[in-house]
Subunit: 342 residues, 4 copies
């Protein structure tokens, strides 16, 4: 039995832990051999492979990124993509594929498995934690931890100068990172893509915070949007989820706050720092277990499935189902957290 | 409505986040007033109280420990304890009590609520994560993170000198911290209280690790015990769970490994460092939500209940039931992790 | 003896440690009393004071920011500023002033001490480490540590996608943070304000890094400037040091790299995160010792002086002299570090 | 030109950064070739070498430990040691040796260079910072940072239970780590090997701290000794510095404090965690510069010298002189810090 492994989409702390879990158990307990494919779907599409065995996964557990590389190549949008993949798998003697990726990458796996008879097992990867089939995805805890530490730091500088600090975190379509890091960091306002925000309400919270002699921290997801549709957007484009994307929403909001409240406001955009570096212990645990259970699914011949976390258990769900719906922040949960605003 | 709050047992990162959640929501949404009781059950027993309102909970979210203090005072073992508590609550106009603690502290709350008509709501606290009613308890993630970082550090010093490093972590009756930090830290052997270990097997793993030209890390819970009943214990006493406790098991094991394998072995006992300091983002999130839901239970008059985490939801379970059974590491999970041993 | 204390300019991790050192030694060993002035020079200018004694400095050692607040108010530019300060000091019975700040704040102290007979002792504060009289200033080590950790994280995400990552750090006129964090973080290019950079040379380094199958990290100080004077600047203004300031130089450079090399490039601007939060152990040590020696200078009546680090000793230098010249990165040191470029 | 490199003695964060600095500059600027010797002096003694070039030093900058391995092998105590080293160097075509180590390892280098005509350059390595010729040694800042973070954590747990926490840190003959981390961590008592301590004085400080309603933290170097010579030592042996070593002094002190004050006291022994893991930014900077300057000394033919830090400069000093005297904490500095005791 030879199993192919690939990682697609944006990188995420924990990818290497998944790969290590797959290979350690696959080799030691099931006697499998492995083929690493480079750069997501580009690997099987172009037959670009890399050695993958016990020695190559040594020491990678605490390392961020992915030893296999990643890309956003989509074989479904590539002429003859499916055929070329099937040929390259057959040519390399690859019997099954473990696909680690987000909804785009896994969408291909679902198609291959369900329609084209290529046995795939999926491992969910989204730093935004926006996949409905699983309680958490790895990488999310690390990103939240980094954002929380940054917010902790911003408090003291905000207080010293009695300034507003706006901290823009990741989250295009779902506000999980903003919500968790904002709550953990003691933010006074948290703005998420799921609910358009009212700038005047934000300014009211900011003002009330100053009245209590403290300086406000506003945490905003990069995909959050103002209610007022007529604001001038720097880069307003319609994406596949029907949202208008606002590039630089944090900076825009800081300027509005200055204008409307007369208080100094500064912006920090955390950016790529959130997705790099060593994974948290939680993410290493989750990612490793995803890897162990993915290879078990291969051994069970349980293809077209994705591993997922439910409570403290790892379960299997159909890939196609798992990626059908985005997991967004429920209005009640946002309301629950809202007690800390202002 | 006046609500009393107390924290009992060993301290745990996140206690202050719970208290803040309770008070912020209680005051702002329900208009409640609060009485803080000092040092666990000693507070209501002796009528020792402290002011608890919005200003007193400001800035405590990221701080470890508990602003209320803690103790292991048990009113059930105190002459006239229950009567004195009822008197002091009545005297202070306290209508309900939120009790944050482990199985001992909550045992009193269950008794008071179920038998003596004192309305209590419980919040689970055990850094060891050994409460069966909840997926996780706050403080655990922080402790695992600290232990994992320590294990990460031990690797490089072990490799440089080709020594065995034994790292003793918390866990008297349950091996959760050892299991999670050992897995996340890439330990080569993990020993937990749930399964007596075979020193010769440990030595075999140690030896095989050296053969691969790497130095082994052994993570051992403080409550782990060797199989061989006839070892000479430094401090062998029978505790309430029927286990023989071995003080200094890490150091004992390091010496056995040296003796049996001829390799140098060193011990590190992490100790109190694991329970102090700022809570992780995960623990701040969980602890805050526990606090918000505990005050909701008070408002709903849902007494005798404890808040608990199930998946990503906070639910309520009867206190008495919740503390009836210790949550230990299941044999299958230990076996799952065992693929990394050796 | 009553001593006034103020903190001016941008905040910096370690300010509270200085204040604590001053007060602990002043009260315990010399029996002094203290007056805290709020928000830098605004405090003595407007007679805005705050209590400052042993209880108010408890627990502030590990806290970033400043309990006294800060501002950029300059009494020399305020009508009647000097007279008002002298009146307010006399009115409050303040015999001497300890001034903690950067070149602007200390410039006032020098003037007051040397010309207006107001006894001042200075403590240097610049997160940029650009004061020539002292080996290091507190806050710098913390900022370098934060930037280094961020760069560590960027490596893994750069490698996974084979992208250029440009990391913009603090440093308007001196490149110390860029130089130290860039070296410590293993950056492939470091750009500082002291030497105008050649975009084509940067692109050559970037390209050669990709040839070795690694992705490049470019660390750039916010005040770094391209050689080519004819680039279109977003915000080109002439400042007091004769430099043209380029707002957003990191983002500008990333776009140029993309254009000239055809490689994807992304920018991260660390911003205010670098100056907030708990100070490093090094900065707590340095800041505390600065505080202890500043109060010694007051006791010795050694006014008009500033404390400074020389090797491992704290010495005193004339304030006026200390702030006369900016400490910039010497060409030989930049060349020494340049061995790691490309 | 072929240059040999070895690392001896206990490991220290930053060793790999030194090696990388040597090799990068040696190869790129001077065209040298390198031979790595394994496990300190054991390498040249037994002719055990390892490849050392640009590819082998890639990615090692942030990694603790040493890729060359280490040992305490002393060729001066080995029959025919010097002759065998000279033979192996000649046999391998090694023209000069860079020796990275503490006083024992460097003592051999001094002897070889000064007496036996083997050209050596030294790089100082002692995590204890106890070498008189240099302001700081790399690894020390990392160790102090780890100890400070641990002390930060102990505060909250001490306060919650109103207990004494004794934290034992490294430092057999010099108290630098205790002094720096104790000051930075806000300890209430710091005990160092340089001054025998009076247990009753310690108890007086402990008691006075409790009176201020705070719980005391006692930081003690592993080599600190009580004044009272007649205490029963667990492991009293006379070492080469004329000190009696007390194994487990932290635990012993905690018990004495409990006995004499009636307060609960707990001990934490930080141990090997202090010397492992990724070096701090400060240590990476210092270690890298030591490496760059060591290879410059080789190019200059300036043998028998050791690189050292003086202020912000790297200088060269005779090895023999540099290791002649231990750098211990001066009484005045200990007194300066003493203002925070109690």
């Amino acid at each position: 039995m030879r199993v192919g492994v690939l990682t697609g989409g944006g990188d995420c702390p924990g990818l290497n832990a998944v790969i290590r879990g797959i290979v350690r158990k696959g080799v030691q307990e099931y006697g499998y051999e492995f083929t690493g494919f480079r750069d997501g779907w580009r690997g099987p599409l172009e037959g670009d492979t890399v050695r993958l065995d016990i020695p190559t996964v040594r020491g990678i557990l605490p390392r961020g990124g992915t030893i296999l590389g990643s890309s956003r190549t989509n074989p479904l949008k590539t002429a003859d993509g499916i055929r070329r993949i099937k040929e390259n798998l057959a040519g390399g003697g690859v019997d099954a594929l473990i696909v680690i990726g987000g909804e785009d990458t896994l969408g291909v796996a679902a198609q291959l498995s369900d329609v084209h008879d290529v046995p795939c097992v999926g491992v969910p990867k989204t730093i935004d934690n926006d996949l409905s089939a699983t309680d958490y995805t790895f990488g999310f805890d690390t990103a939240v931890g980094i954002a929380t530490e940054a917010i902790d730091r911003l408090h003291t500088t905000a207080e010293s100068h009695m300034r507003v600090l706006v901290c823009e975190v990741m989250g295009r379509h779902a506000g999980w990172i903003a919500l968790h890091s904002g709550l953990a960091g003691g933010a006074n306002v948290i703005l998420i893509p799921e609910q358009r925000f009212d700038v005047d309400q934000v300014c009211a919270w900011v003002t009330s915070r100053f009245k209590a002699s403290y300086a406000p921290i506003v945490v905003i997801a990069e995909g959050a949007m103002p209610k007022d549709g007529d604001v001038i957007l720097k880069d307003g484009t319609l994406d596949s989820f029907g949202h208008v994307r606002l590039s630089g929403v944090g900076e825009w909001l800081a300027k509005e706050i200055e204008k409307r409240t007369g208080k100094e406001a500064r912006t920090t955009v955390l950016g790529h720092v959130q997705r790099g570096g060593t994974p948290s212990a939680f993410d290493r645990w989750l990612a490793t277990r995803f890897g162990l259970h993915a290879i078990d699914a291969v051994r069970d011949g349980d293809f077209g499935k994705m591993v997922a976390l439910r409570g403290t258990d790892i379960v299997r769900v159909p890939i196609a189902e798992a990626i059908a719906e985005l997991k967004t922040v429920q209005p009640e949960l946002y309301k629950e957290v809202g007690v800390f605003f202002g």
